[in-house]
């Protein structure tokens, strides 16, 4: 487990990669070309792992271990279903700050992922190139353009790779998202614009955010595909994403997928949703909880098995987080440039002297 490593020093190639620790989490989902029962159960399993990790993260925040956390509760099907459709040999995904489920599906070590919430490192500690998952991005709308550039790069290299970018209903208001859809449309790039419409952007409901009411409906204006799916139905999400990725690979250009789901928790652990939405709304939406739905199709035995596995992952993750040391203070000066500039070396030196003094 990552946290067993003595120090966080050095470049990320010394650090935890999803590859080497994923076994503790549950195998990263293999690339599925169609979905059979076994696959579906694997997705359920990952969803439950995500839910339990999410609950644990909230608990750890309350205990003061994590300074803050952005719960993913309610969006597990949307994230697992979409990430599971990626071909990890050639695709790449671009998350926001709320994509624990995608990380889990891509086999990222939860400890390396959570390091971000532990205030260890903004981008987490996983290697994005191995995980095929960019570092979490806190600028709403910002990473969407990266997916477009990445897809162009993949197309120029003719790798058959496609990009999938996560964004929220709130993010759909950002100019960058429009520019991204337009660029991807003009160049017909293999990009899946995966919008998790979870009903809220902090306190603003989608109805006051998205003129016209639908992010998927924007696609037609760019001459590209747009689909809405039930974001709480992991199979539907998976199928829509798989189709969109194939469409992109085949030269059909980008697709906007709007996965209709719900943020069951607060925006973050410092948010208080009772200020802007009713308990009644929350209760009603909880009835469509994707985990409850998934559980329904599992036997008691299967559930027990899944929960046991999830509990194991949670235990290890918690232990890992407890064991994790803050980065050595010297890292303050690392990674700014490929090689530090003279000015930075000077500042580092002065800082070190003041430490020793």
């Amino acid at each position: 487990m990552y946290s067993a490593m003595p120090l966080l020093l050095g470049r990320a190639d010394n650090l935890s990669s999803g590859e080497s620790h994923c076994c503790t989490v549950g195998d990263p989902v293999r690339t599925l070309s169609f979905m059979d029962d076994a696959d579906l159960r694997e997705l359920f399993r990952l969803m439950v792992v995500t839910r339990r990790l999410d609950e644990e993260a909230v608990a750890l925040q309350r205990q003061g271990v994590l300074p803050a956390y952005a719960p993913v509760r309610g969006q597990e099907a949307a994230q697992i279903g979409s990430a599971a459709a990626l071909d990890r040999a050639r695709d790449f995904a671009f998350p926001t700050y709320r994509e624990l489920g995608a990380a889990v599906a891509l086999g990222v070590d939860p400890v390396a992922y959570m390091a971000m919430h532990l205030n260890i490192w903004h981008g987490g500690l996983y290697d994005p190139n191995v995980a095929r998952l960019a570092p979490p991005n806190a600028v709403v709308g910002g990473p969407v353009l990266h997916a477009v550039g990445w897809a162009m790069g993949a197309k120029l290299d003719d790798t058959g790779g496609a990009a999938l970018t996560y964004f929220g209903d709130g993010a759909s208001s950002q100019g960058d998202v429009h520019e991204a859809m337009n660029f991807a449309g003009v160049y017909r790039l293999p990009v899946v614009f995966f919008c998790q419409n979870n009903g809220w952007a902090i306190s603003l409901p989608t109805g006051s955010q998205v003129a016209g009411g639908s992010v998927a409906a924007r696609a037609a204006g760019y001459g590209i595909e747009g689909v809405r799916v039930d974001g709480n139905d992991v199979t539907a999400v998976f199928e829509a994403t798989r189709a969109a990725l194939e469409h992109g690979r085949a030269g059909g250009g980008p697709t906007v997928i709007e996965a209709m789901t719900y943020r069951l928790g607060p925006h973050s652990t410092s948010d208080d949703p009772s200020r802007y939405r009713s308990a009644e709304e929350e209760r009603l939406r909880a009835e469509q909880d994707p985990i409850t739905r998934a559980m329904r199709s599992l036997s008691a035995e299967e559930i027990a098995d899944v929960e046991e596995h999830a509990a194991d992952v949670v235990r290890k993750t918690t232990a890992g987080l407890h064991a994790m040391q803050p980065p050595p203070a010297d890292e303050l000066f690392s990674f700014v440039y490929r090689e530090p500039t003279a000015a930075l070396l000077d500042q580092h030196r002065a800082w070190k002297e003041s430490q020793d003094a």
Partner: protein, 329 residues
Amino acid sequence: MPELSLQQALNTALRHACEDDDRVLIFGEDVGTLGGVFRVTDGLQDKFGEQRVFDTPLAESAIMGMSVGLAMAGWRPVPEIQFDGFSYPAIDQIVNQVARMHYRSRGTLGMPITLRLPSFGGIRAPEHHGESLESLFAHVPGLKVVSPSSPSEGYHLLRQAIADPDPVIFMEPKSRYWQRENFDPAAPVEALPVGRSRVVRRGRHATLVAWGAMVSRCEQVAQLAAEDGVELEVLDLRWLKPIDAEGLAESVARTRRAVVVHEAPLTAGLGGEVSALITERCFGEMRAPVQRVAGFDVPYPSGSLEDEYLPSIDRVLTAVQTALEYRRG
């Protein structure tokens, strides 16, 4: 006399501004029902209605571009951008439009816009939530920039910013939102002109120049230094544009040494400007070059490295010592 936190003082200032001038509009992400992520606009929508206090969709460039149009239509916009680091998407509207429309139109289109911007670091927040953009803003002709260092300062400076006929970037030191002070916002105060600094503590051995959250840090330093018999003057610059060059010169001409302290990265930070202004005016009197204590030239780090990044009491003290011990080579 009520005890108010900075956050409450700002909330009161907004309330009074809305009461006094029915052209004042307050808007931004989550400022309505939620009352803002820092609750600075708490209760204002209830009091003034959804026309005067409203939520916007999530787009900072639109928030500022809309402010330009509202000002053209005769309103007095007080938009909020939720966090410092998210003003970057709005920089084009701020620099190319907000700051220039009055100029471009030869004074026919006033831009009495006050952008409220929770700013600076110190609260162990996620990436982009701890930035200090004052040197960017201070460089832009047509903008005014101010940052309060206490609840009473917050109240009066925000009232002054909103009343000002020009665009003002109002940088709220978020690590000080919960700082408390006894003062009566209703009590009349002498109106200071825009751009006036404030001597927070008198001293004679060196002047510490700071703004926002670094003012109280400098006061701590002065306290400690006093125990060693070193009397430091603490100057709260307050206005980062226009800068009080006279106030700086007046202080440093007396103390003959200066240390400027800020959170933003050193290079091309406002400390360079302050250093140059002081040196240009006080070269003859100065006993040591102006010392700068600033954030390092690195991205604002994650919480676990934050204390190392921000100017610490030790680093400021070291700089004071360097200034005091300086001998011309």
